[in-house]
């Protein structure tokens, strides 16, 4: 008897809570909110990348707008409401979650998931439902074709080829100046990013008369790359290029340091531009080259970094985070310019571009950011394209490893 009494109380309590929550839901709807939805990797192998480049930016953007009273739409201030799902780093789950956001939650805008594969998976669904897609963390050689096929999709980080070509062009400059020899040792992670970039890099380097003395892949997830470094060390290459993912990037740097492998140019992949890298290697990060870069002397960028630290308790990475933030700024301005939350009107504004962002005047998909950057004095600065304003001089040759502290 006692149990059933307890059970009854529990049922009543549950029912009341359920009723109350629907009431608040309706209440919220009545006063009108702009509903933003996203599925992101909170768990699984994609989680660390998402937690570095994507989630803090989304959360900070929403908080800043809501703290300011909401989006300015016409003469009204509309707060943002967020619906968030964990895609558990599985593209099937991401697709399911995005469909739920569209059909069940009926959100106004969907922010992109993390990673190339995830963005490719959800792109057709977003397109079919008429949602714009600001793919913030995808690098694919198909980017231009995809942007054409799915009219409202924007591939913010561009193609693997552009990074590889920019890097090869930069190396060619060094070679022509007689600073480095023509030998390059290249490794890549055997996954989307590594395969695309090494393919493009191979072609770009060979076109510029470089001799690839080492060109191999390593399995995804592997951090024990000492044997590779030891092999490469004896090949006499002045340039080392690794299209690696974060765990591999840290492993390679560590093992190069232990083995005393210190090429004149040390280029490592994703993860180098993460604050983690600087925390981990301290002074030894100096001179390491990678994708991305930030003009930290630019007051807008400096301010963004400062706000990010205050909000998330850590620095943003110096590549995807910055581009992601620029796209979020664009979205906010597109909604405010459209003067309505109507999806078509917002999409039309997004397509027009001309937004005032931390990357200057920007249209999502513009590749007006650093393609090659380098750690200099604790800052990951841009060195190429050299034609860009504020390009830093390369620290050359890479200083010797100082060793563990």
């Amino acid at each position: 008897m006692q149990i059933s009494a307890k059970l009854r109380i529990a049922t009543i309590a549950a029912a009341t809570t359920a009723l109350m929550s629907t009431a608040t839901l309706f209440g919220a709807n009545a006063q009108e909110t702009y509903r933003i939805g996203y599925a992101i990797s909170k768990t699984g192998p994609g989680a660390p990348g998402a937690a570095t480049s994507t989630t803090p930016n989304y959360e900070m953007w929403v908080k800043e707008i809501n703290d300011a009273g909401g989006l300015k739409v016409g003469d009204k201030q509309i707060p943002i409401e967020v619906v968030e799902y964990d895609d558990r780093s599985s593209s099937e789950e991401a697709v399911r979650a995005v469909e739920r956001l569209i059909n069940q939650d009926k959100v106004d805008f969907i922010l992109s998931p993390w990673g190339t594969g995830m963005n490719l998976a959800v792109a057709p669904i977003l397109d079919r439902a008429g949602y714009a897609h600001l793919a913030g963390t995808a690098v694919t050689d198909k980017a231009p074709q995809l942007a054409q096929r799915w009219k409202n999709s924007y591939w913010l980080l561009g193609t693997g080829e552009q990074y590889a070509v920019e890097m090869a062009e930069f190396l060619k400059g060094l070679k022509d100046a007689g600073k480095i020899n023509d030998k390059v040792a290249m490794i890549a992670v055997a996954d989307g990013f590594g395969i695309e970039l090494s393919k493009a890099g191979r072609a770009a380097l060979e076109d510029r008369d470089f001799d690839l003395v080492y060109d191999k892949t390593y399995p995804l997830g592997s951090q024990d790359l000492a044997t590779i470094v030891n092999d490469i060390k004896s090949l006499g290459a002045d340039t080392f290029v690794a299209f690696s993912y974060p765990p591999g990037t840290l492993g390679l740097t560590e093992q190069s340091r232990v083995l005393g492998f210190n090429p004149k140019v040390f280029y490592a992949g994703v993860g180098t531009a993460f604050p983690l890298y600087k925390d981990r290697f301290g002074a030894d990060a100096e001179g390491v080259v990678s994708l991305g870069g930030a003009s930290e002397n630019d007051p807008k960028i400096a301010d963004y970094i400062k706000r990010h630290i205050a909000f998330a308790g850590r620095e943003p990475d110096r590549w995807a985070s910055i581009v992601n933030w620029a796209s979020l700024q664009s979205l906010q301005q597109a909604i405010e310019r459209a003067g309505s939350t109507d999806r078509e009107a917002v999409n039309a504004e997004l397509a027009k571009g001309g937004f005032d962002t931390i990357l200057g005047t920007y249209k999502p998909g513009d590749q007006t950011f650093w393609q090659v950057g380098q750690w200099q004095d604790g800052k990951f600065v841009g060195v190429a394209p050299t034609s860009m304003e504020g390009a830093h001089e390369l620290v050359f040759p890479k200083p010797a490893w100082k060793g563990a502290n």
């Binding site: 909170k42 660390p48 937690a51 191999k216 390593y218 044997t227 030891n230 492993g251």
Partner: protein, 289 residues
């Protein structure tokens, strides 16, 4: 080149062995297929990280706190979560299925708690990364330390299991829990003790691995998988087997990476695993049931 490949293979293998030895104790003696094993390792990695970065305690000293802590934690897990399963299981198969389900749930709980506290980011810290010259090859000191622990734990437990009274009791429980009762062995205590001991070894593994690998809250499953391969290859419940299986895998990976292609390191692991299963299904040092 060959000497370097061998040496780095041995340190790699030492790490695999270290990661696997706790699981072989838990699975072999307590018969708990602990799917949360990797997560519990990662917990120790995070504790070591906090000790190192926030409190300035070096991870090796931290072991003095972490080992008893994890022993107690795993003791608690066995007593409160797993004992009911053991009590109601009619046979070994049933206990395995039940324990897989229960520890699968535990995996998500541990991961969820870590996620709330630490978020999804990568973590890494710098400790004992100096190069040590071993026969002309530069090896990171922290990897040598891990190898040393693996050898000491492997040989130490092997001797304890074969030469001492409690070790004999543990082996008896591993072979046949029902008959072990007939010779006045407290089976429940032995199983609980072995599980907690396995958990403590896992924690040692987690701490040592965190000195040289980048880790995140979602990486536990990687360790569980690797440990499972080593455990099954070495023979369930056999610590010496785990040590040797780990070393074989490490050396094979290293040789393949040096002389054939680094892309094949995972493939060679599974080829060797498959060969062992085909030739000796109970593992290198396993008894045939």
């Amino acid at each position: 080149m060959l000497s370097y490949a061998l040496l780095s293979g041995i340190t790699l293998g030492g790490m695999y062995a270290l990661v696997a030895m706790g699981l072989t104790l838990q699975y072999g003696v307590s018969r708990i297929m602990n799917l949360a094993y990797g997560e519990l390792m990662i917990v120790a990695s995070f504790i070591a990280f906090v000790f190192m970065t926030a409190l300035g305690i070096n991870p090796i000293l931290g072991l003095l706190i972490i080992i008893p802590l994890s022993f107690a934690l795993n003791w608690g897990i066995y007593r409160f979560l797993l004992t009911p399963l053991v009590a109601r299981a009619k046979n070994r198969g049933m206990l395995e299925v039940d324990s897989i389900l229960a520890t699968f749930g535990l995996l998500f709980i541990v991961q969820g708690v870590l996620l709330v506290w630490f978020g999804g980011n990568y973590y890494s810290y710098d400790f004992l990364n100096d190069a040590v010259d071993v026969f002309g090859a530069a090896i990171a000191a922290n990897r040598l330390v891990a190898l040393g622990f693996a050898v000491v734990i492997g040989l130490g437990f092997y001797l304890i299991l074969t030469r001492t009274r409690i070790g004999t009791a543990l082996r008896a429980v591993a072979v046949d829990p029902t008959s072990a009762r007939l010779v006045a062995i407290d089976v429940n205590f032995a199983a609980c003790f072995a599980f907690a001991l396995g958990g403590a070894v896992a924690a040692v593994g987690g701490v040592l691995v965190s000195m040289f690998l980048t880790f995140s809250t979602s990486m536990g499953v990687v360790f569980t998988m690797k440990a499972l391969i080593v455990v099954i290859m070495g023979g369930v419940g056999n610590l010496l087997g785990a040590l040797i299986a780990g070393l074989i895998l490490g050396i094979a990976e290293s040789l393949v990476a040096t002389y054939i292609d680094p892309g094949l390191t995972i493939a060679v692991t599974y080829v060797i695993f498959l060969l062992v299963l085909l030739i000796k299904p109970s593992g290198l040092f396993g008894r045939t049931a």
